[in-house]
């Protein structure tokens, strides 16, 4: 299984990494190089870790604007991490991530308002319910693959929107569920800064856990399943259960995020969870490289900040973008999605610096 693990977790690139093609007689030199690569990788990881800690500490000093953006990025990042495991590692294209957020959010809203659940309890409950829903979807679509699955999740997105919209009208006269202040182990999350620290912690925890799962047995099973489900089945891997597990995990994360989002915004309403949001999460997952959990984090920051950046650039250049904002954003998101799918950056880079492996 080592070969499988050391392959890059992306949707393309069937070529093995350069190191494996080297002849064995260069054993000593190879070992030396491998040792240096490992230290290099360790150093890089340390640098990233330090930079992350610095970012967490420094952001609050930049003011409300940046804090709000940071918080929204963190929320998007957690959701995208779950999605990237589903789409990247397990190879199951889902267009319904926002639907699971909605399920989590609405579950939490009902439990909090009618049964007095607290924030953490609601998050757990929302996650569990969404996870079950995800498992159900996987079971229902067990006989389909690839494209059909994507369309099925699209259908789920629509159904959830319609059903929960009804619920919202019936129970809240259309204003959405008003959520109380979130309390985490006695600490109330009232300001943007409070939320920032909590969300950073949650992002780290989710990152840690998802990485552990992906590197462990479940992850390897999913990679096998993604490569060729029939072969995996014949190797004795319980593919159906693996699919359900992948969906359940991803939707559990999404459900928890839905709860967090609801408390953060102060309102749970169905309009917060649209198909557009699902596509944005997919774009984030693709941008951060499908299957890369850490990648989803910085990609979420980029995509969240993007509209503001666009606006800022244009205003600095003197254009009043006010009439084009919505459309331009959609165009840029679509272009990003397309370019990343086609690995345009890598190809351009290869053109500019010929001689490097494409």
């Amino acid at each position: 299984m080592r070969t499988v693990l050391s392959r890059p977790l992306s949707t393309a690139g069937p070529h093995p990494p350069a190191g494996e093609a080297r002849p064995p007689s260069r054993g000593a030199a190879q070992g030396d190089r491998a040792g240096r690569r490992e230290t290099g990788a360790l150093a890089r990881r340390l640098a990233i870790g330090l930079a992350a800690i610095a970012a967490v500490g420094l952001l609050p000093t930049q003011g409300l604007y940046w804090l709000a953006l940071g918080n929204q990025s963190a929320i998007a990042a957690i959701s995208a991490m779950g999605l990237t495991v589903l789409v990247g590692t397990a190879g199951l294209l889902s267009l319904g991530q926002a639907a699971f957020l909605a399920i989590g959010g609405f579950t939490a809203a009902l439990l909090v308002i009618h049964m007095g659940f607290g924030f953490l309890g609601a998050m757990a409950a929302g996650g569990v319910v969404a996870g079950l829903a995800g498992a159900l979807v996987a079971a229902a679509t067990a006989r389909t693959v690839g494209i059909y699955l994507a369309v099925g999740t699209l259908a789920l997105q629509y159904v959830v929107e319609i059903v929960l919209s009804d619920v919202e009208v019936q129970l809240t006269s259309g204003m959405g569920f008003q959520m109380p202040v979130a309390q985490v182990l006695g600490v109330e999350l009232t300001s943007e800064e409070d939320w920032w620290y909590f969300l950073c912690l949650m992002t780290f925890l989710v990152w840690f856990v998802l990485r552990a799962i992906v590197r462990g047995q479940p992850g390897r099973t999913w990679v096998c399943m993604k490569e060729n489900a029939t072969v995996a089945g014949s190797l004795g891997i319980p593919v159906r259960r693996a699919r359900m597990a992948a969906f359940a995990l991803s939707s559990l994360v999404a459900g928890a995020v839905g709860v967090v989002h609801g408390f953060y915004m102060g309102t749970v309403q169905i309009t917060n969870y649209s198909l557009h949001l699902s596509i944005v999460y997919l774009t984030i997952a693709v941008l951060g490289r499908l299957g890369s959990i850490g990648g989803a984090i910085w990609a979420a920051a980029v995509i969240t900040v993007l509209p503001q950046a666009l606006n800022g650039f244009m205003r600095a250049l003197g254009f009043d973008l006010i009439a084009f904002g919505a459309g331009l954003e959609d165009v840029v998101l679509g272009l990003i999605l397309a370019m990343i799918l086609l690995e345009a950056p890598r190809r351009l880079w290869a053109r500019i610096r010929p001689g490097r492996p494409a």
Binding site: R143, R243, I279, G327, E329, L333, G334, A338, L341
Partner: protein, 287 residues
């Protein structure tokens, strides 16, 4: 049920059929499910209504201009999916069309600011079995049917159609037999673009030129899946059934659930019979 409702259903069915045929056409050729055709249709309808309205062009001229733009976009999509995207497979190709759809909607929003405009192709009423029916509806129905039938004839009767079926069956074998696969794929995309244009303009004429017109894309995909996704005839039957279901639910049950119909149909098919009505089994993996 009166004649007017029946005509309304058939008109919607013909629009769906045109779009569903395009979906099936592309899917058969390279296993890509197109999510951008309805958006392309909306773009075409906005172009047509702008040219024929503000710019004062004649309807046929503005239609041709809109068609030209749509075909140009289709060429771009062909290059994107079949050339640049080829190493990545049909999966990525499908998501690419989602991206293209998003880009098109963004452009439409930027240029036309989301406004709604009426576009009537023909004024007045015509007598059908004693009832006065809007001539516009009949014209739309006629155009979409004509386009759909034309494409069916091309696929089933012409040499190009044989090449298309060969490529659909196995691209590598087709290449060995001397068929220029890339050119055939280009034609497939052009045809789908043309069908998308006609469907989009038809729908816009029946209701209005508006960004919401893009929702028929999902209905078309559902109709295609209902028919088996690889069967052109199935696409037509699926479209008729879907249009029927939607409008009957609106008139006799509750308009709120009109959008639920395609979704429920889709769910049911995926759970019970993923290969659709035509029963042609795809690579449905049983695990």
């Amino acid at each position: 049920m009166n004649v007017s409702l029946l005509v309304s259903i058939l008109a919607s069915a013909s629009v769906y059929a045109a779009l569903a045929t395009a979906v099936v056409l592309v899917y058969r050729a390279n296993r890509v499910l197109v999510f951008h055709l309805a958006e392309l249709g909306v773009l075409a309808s906005y172009l047509m209504v702008t040219l024929s309205g503000e710019a004062g062009w004649s309807l046929p001229a503005s239609f041709l201009a809109a068609l030209a733009v749509a075909l140009a976009v289709s060429v771009l999509v062909h290059v994107l999916v079949d050339h640049w995207g080829r190493p990545f497979g049909h999966f990525v190709g499908t998501v690419l069309t989602i991206a293209v759809g998003g880009i098109l909607m963004g452009l439409i929003g930027m240029i036309w600011s989301g406004r709604t405009v009426r576009m009537i192709l023909a004024e007045g009423r015509t007598d059908v079995f004693g009832e006065p029916i809007s001539t516009n509806t009949l014209v739309v129905m006629g155009l979409c049917c004509l386009a759909t039938v034309a494409v069916h004839l091309v696929v089933n009767r012409s040499r190009l159609g044989i090449s298309m079926r060969a490529v659909a069956n196995s691209a590598s074998l087709a290449r060995h037999r001397g068929i220029q696969v890339s050119r055939v794929l280009l034609v497939v995309w052009l045809l789908s673009g043309a069908l998308g244009t006609i469907a989009g303009i038809g729908m816009a004429s029946l209701s209005a030129v508006a960004m919401e017109g893009a929702v028929i894309g999902v209905s078309a995909i559902v109709a295609a899946i209902l028919g088996g996704l690889t069967s052109l005839g199935g696409a037509i039957i699926g479209s008729i059934l879907l249009a029927f279901g939607e409008q009957m639910v609106i008139v006799y049950v509750d308009p709120r659930y009109s959008q639920v119909v395609p979704i429920l149909v889709l769910f049911t098919i995926l759970v019970i019979r993923p290969s659709g009505l035509s029963g042609r089994t795809e690579s449905v993996v049983r695990v």
